[in-house]
């Protein structure tokens, strides 16, 4: 037997639904807001796409930029970058000019001049990042993208 009162939308029913839906929606939106507050809008860090200076500031050969954890290689007008962050657990690798290799002091990984992981626990080669030229003449490194070992940026 169908009770008519159950299917009729009474004032009480409407306000009941309005109240419950509103509260749940409000709480849900507030929760999103609270979580969103924790995602920082600005970072007190060097940005992931950054300027490293004018091309003429770099000598031939290899330059280490400690604040960006990056090695810049220059051969005349050709540039490429090799990240100094070990792919194992993110320590900073050292360049050994005699062996022409990168050594990681944390767990003993060794990388070739091109960043290829030769020995040790590092699972992947050191990433290379692409370069570009900003309108004001500075070189820009984009650490959001990775390029292969045959990459070079020419002026």
């Amino acid at each position: 037997m169908v009770k008519e009162k159950e299917t009729k939308i009474t004032r009480r029913f409407f306000f009941g639904i309005l109240g419950k839906v509103s509260i749940i929606a409000a709480l849900f939106v507030e929760a999103i807001g609270a979580i969103r507050a924790f995602i920082p809008q600005v970072l007190y860090e060097p940005p992931s796409k950054f300027k490293i200076g004018k091309p003429d500031d770099f000598p031939e050969g290899i330059t280490f930029l400690p604040e960006h954890r990056l090695f810049i290689f220059r051969k005349r007008e050709n540039f490429h970058t090799v990240s100094a962050v070990c792919t194992h657990l993110y320590c900073i690798v050292d360049w050994k000019p005699n062996q022409k290799e990168f050594y990681c002091s944390c767990h003993g990984s060794i990388f070739s001049q091109d960043g290829i992981n030769l020995t040790g626990p590092a699972p992947k080669p050191l990433p290379w990042y692409p370069l570009s030229l900003a309108p004001d003449g500075n070189l820009v490194v984009d650490s959001n993208e990775q390029v292969t070992q045959d990459y070079k940026f020419s002026l």
Binding site: G33, A37, Q41
Partner: protein, 433 residues
Amino acid sequence: MKEKFSLIWRNLTWSWSPRSNREASESVVKNFWLHWFPSRVSFQSINWSYSLWLGTIAASLFAILTITGLLLLYFYIPSVQNAYWSIKDLENVVVFGWLLRAQHSWAAHLMVAVVFFHLMRVFFTAAYRGQRVWNWYIGIALLILTLFLSFTGYILPWDQLAYWALTIGTGIASAFPFLGKSVRFLLVGGNVLGQSSLLRFFVLHNFFLPALLLFLFALHMWRIRKDGGLACMDKLVHETRLKEIPVSLTKTYSLLGVTEGTTIQVETTEVLDEGNSVRTSPHLVRRIALVFLVTTIITLILALSFPTPLEEPANPSVTPIPAKAPWYFLWLQELIAITTIRIGKIAISGGLIGGILVPGFLLLLAIVWPFLDKSPKEAIGVWFHKKRKIQNIVFIFICIVIIILIIIGVYLRGPYWNFYWPWQPWPEIPKTF
């Protein structure tokens, strides 16, 4: 569908649904609401106009302060170099940071006001009489804690207001006879205000004072139960006794059946029935939810409408002109300014008289008042009972004096604490540019 929802609701509000009388009585202990609240409350207790629900509003404000405060804790930096910077970042770059801060600030101001109004209501309804005097004392302690929480809170941005309020506050502490200087040394963490002071006040504001407040709040609630509910219950019990309705012989609630007699808590549960009370769940719970909701809405509207003030970064070499405490301390500041007594060569600092003696006297008055109150029992739980006329007048007088002092402090005091009528312009304060 409807059944599913009501099933979920029952599972949320009931630990389990009792299937026997014994289980029903066990549910009192196992259900949070029944543990906190009695199973029935009188019509008058739940009435808006009796208590004005000020206590609930204050508790809601505290909940809002705790939630916004915990979120703010992730962004605030308690270091002298970075505190101001972190507040600016909250205002500018933290998503909803401005809202969190604004709501926190408004809830704090409202809580001080509401707690004081709650005290006034309790006084006017003589709800501090008899065994309720202990709850009155817990309430006084809660009032003082609220004021301290507010004070320690506005120290944290380390702006000009914070720095100089701390200077004056610790100055008042040092005016305390004998122990004063040592108390100040401990509060400041040294002789000069600095990083150690900020850190101490940070920990006080975020841990010790809220923990103490929560503990006393729980005690405050427990006392309500032990005292048989709100003071208006006394009347109900009294009337029932007059009618000589016997209390149930099977209920004693005594300890292992060893003690004799009955308590007010038992009597009030006996007295409540369908004719004069409602079930706590859902009626009281719904009202509490409503009060919490409206309090949230009010703080949200205020937060959306007004920016939160922040002064210049703290500068130890410049005292702002004028240097004013927040409104709830302005009556004290006014007192401190005007109560320095000079008799011949002897001068007693206003810091001692206005800052310690007068508030100390008021506190003492609050402590002994329940014993000075000789009004009859019919006056308990009633607003402005005629037998309490004189007391009420004295109390109102004290409140009015405090409010007048606050108004003077806010609107009529200008640079160098000189008196200015509202239409008199203040002298321009020099700026850099």
